[in-house]
């Protein structure tokens, strides 16, 4: 058999291979270089930054006498995360159903719900807290409100595909029975998405715990406020103790959440 004619070999591959070719690499490299110049980040900054970091770590010897001060704000942090996850889920679910084409009321409402969610999703969690803190009086309240809104947005992003990909058959049967939209959702949609949703909610709780740690920094309650105070007073021992405690708690919740999620699916 004669070897194939090179000109007859079809060219071009999948979108992925076409995208990852030389011109794309060139553009990305250019973007990288521009970024370096604009931010003033260079190898020197990297090395000196790393050195500073390592040196700084030497000073971070935990001062365990600070522990009693830490418990209460830590509890508040967890409370904020818990409430925000709970309320965010309860408030977010109706919104998600309005934004999914198979459970919404009509076209314009779906579009409105989706737009609201898109905007909500593009604001970082800390920003919500920072904006709400001066308005709602510094303390846990702006933190809870901020993370509630954030939870709604993140849940919507995770769940939108789940809702729209369920089996439509049972929904048709329920409509044939004469059930209105809400009952169709409760009897037909919720059972199908329950397991996945619970997994998402646990994941969001994890994110919220990490977020609530820090929102105190901008005045929205929790251990972040304590951290700010330690930093301002250069109490490195306190900072170190706080960091260790935070790390332990977050790790614990992370592991619990992974375990719970594996039991669900």
């Amino acid at each position: 058999m004669a070897p194939p004619d090179p000109a007859a070999v079809p060219r071009g591959g999948s979108f992925a291979s076409r995208l990852l070719n030389w011109s794309t690499w060139a553009v990305l490299a250019g973007l990288f270089v521009v970024s370096l110049r604009q931010t003033g980040f260079d190898v020197e900054a990297l090395t000196s930054g790393t050195q500073d970091f390592v040196r700084f770590f030497g000073r971070l010897v935990p001062d365990w006498t600070a522990l009693p001060q830490i418990w209460r704000p830590l509890l508040e942090t967890l409370q904020i995360a818990y409430l925000a996850t709970l309320m965010g889920t309860l408030l977010g679910l109706p919104l998600i159903f309005l934004a999914s084409y198979n459970t919404t009321i009509n076209g314009p409402i779906m579009w409105l719900a989706r737009s609201v969610l898109t905007v909500l999703r593009s604001i970082p969690d800390l920003l919500y807290a920072a904006i709400l803190a001066p308005i709602l009086a510094p303390g846990p309240l702006p933190g809870v409100v901020a993370l509630t809104v954030f939870t709604m947005a993140v849940l919507a992003k995770l769940a939108s595909e789940t809702v729209e990909s369920i089996d439509p058959g049972p929904l048709e049967a329920l409509r044939a029975v004469g059930a209105g939209r809400n009952r169709v959702i409760v009897y037909g949609v919720l059972p199908q998405i329950a397991a996945t949703m619970t997994s998402f909610v646990l994941y969001i709780f994890e994110i919220n715990v990490r977020a609530s740690v820090v929102i105190g920094y901008v005045g929205a309650g929790g251990v972040g406020f304590l951290l700010l105070r330690y930093l301002n007073f250069f109490d490195w021992g306190g900072v170190a103790a706080l960091i260790v405690v935070i790390f332990a708690v977050v790790l614990l919740i992370d592991l619990l959440s992974v375990w719970a999620r594996s039991r669900l699916i």
Partner: protein, 269 residues
């Protein structure tokens, strides 16, 4: 049909137990919520009310009239934020690439061998990013460098886990085929593993970029560069019209980047 008068059969044990468990779980969650609300240091309603009265109207007025004179400042800050995210994501990706292979069970020859790698990644990932940024600011001084390093390190954790999951999920078939054709481990790597994982790597890298863009916007709040710093200054001075302009720029920028990134990612995988 005549109405039935026959008795309802008894509910089997396991169903009753499940219902009880579910009921208890719901009650417990609500009770916990109430407990949290009551024990938290919530401000008195009068204080909240006065805060709202003082701030809500100027806030709404400012939000309806964004201040166009800060548009340029907001845009350049947002660009700087994006540049920070680019570098942070790149560093994260470069470091995560080799680490992920060390955390992938199917490449090391067993999932137990991958545990130390995975453990390291979990540790890095669990550490709140902002905390990292705060530490870097305290150590190296304020500015974008601190933010970039925080993002880079945190991204390693995130990307490392995702990448190793991708590696563990590849098809073993092509590996076998290459070995059968006489290739060694390096050939398997180059011609089977890498081509299979590259599209998903790229997609996840883009996703991380989306997240980092938001993170970078926020890191400035703690002094680590980007749009966060000018924003929080204006927040503290209650300059709502300028705040709203900044928010508008941030939201628009992020929506545009998200949309572009989503369409590229959809076609990659």
């Amino acid at each position: 049909m005549t109405t039935s008068t026959s008795p309802i059969p008894p509910t089997p044990g396991h169903v009753v137990r499940t219902r009880w468990l579910l009921g208890i779980a719901v009650v417990a969650m609500l009770a916990l919520a109430v407990l949290a609300l009551v024990t938290m240091n919530l401000p008195a309603w009068s204080r909240v009310q006065s805060g709202l009265e003082r701030n809500l109207v100027p806030l709404l007025r400012g939000f309806v009239n964004p201040a166009w004179h800060v548009f340029e400042l907001a845009s350049t800050s947002m660009l700087e934020t994006m540049f920070m995210a680019v570098i942070g994501t790149t560093i994260g990706g470069i470091l995560a690439f080799p680490l992920s292979f060390l955390a992938a069970g199917n490449l090391l020859g067993g999932s137990r061998l991958a545990l130390p790698g995975k453990g390291l990644l979990v540790g890095v990932r669990t550490f709140p990013e902002i905390l990292l940024a705060i530490i870097f600011v305290a150590a190296a001084g304020p500015g974008p460098t601190a933010g970039i390093m925080a993002m880079g390190i945190h991204s390693v954790g995130f990307l490392g886990k995702i990448f190793s999951d991708v590696i563990e999920g590849i098809d073993a078939g092509p590996n076998e085929a290459i070995r059968a054709a006489g290739g060694n481990a390096l050939h398997v790597f180059m011609f089977s593993v890498v081509p299979q994982v590259l599209p998903e790597f790229a997609s996840n890298l883009l996703y991380r970029f989306e997240i980092n863009l938001r993170a970078a916007a926020v890191l400035g709040l703690v002094g680590a560069g980007g749009i966060g710093l000018p924003l929080i200054q204006r927040l503290q001075f209650r300059r709502w019209d300028e705040v709203s302009m900044f928010l508008l720029v941030i939201v628009t920028f992020i929506i545009v980047v998200d949309t572009l990134s989503s369409s590229v990612r959809r076609r990659l995988v």
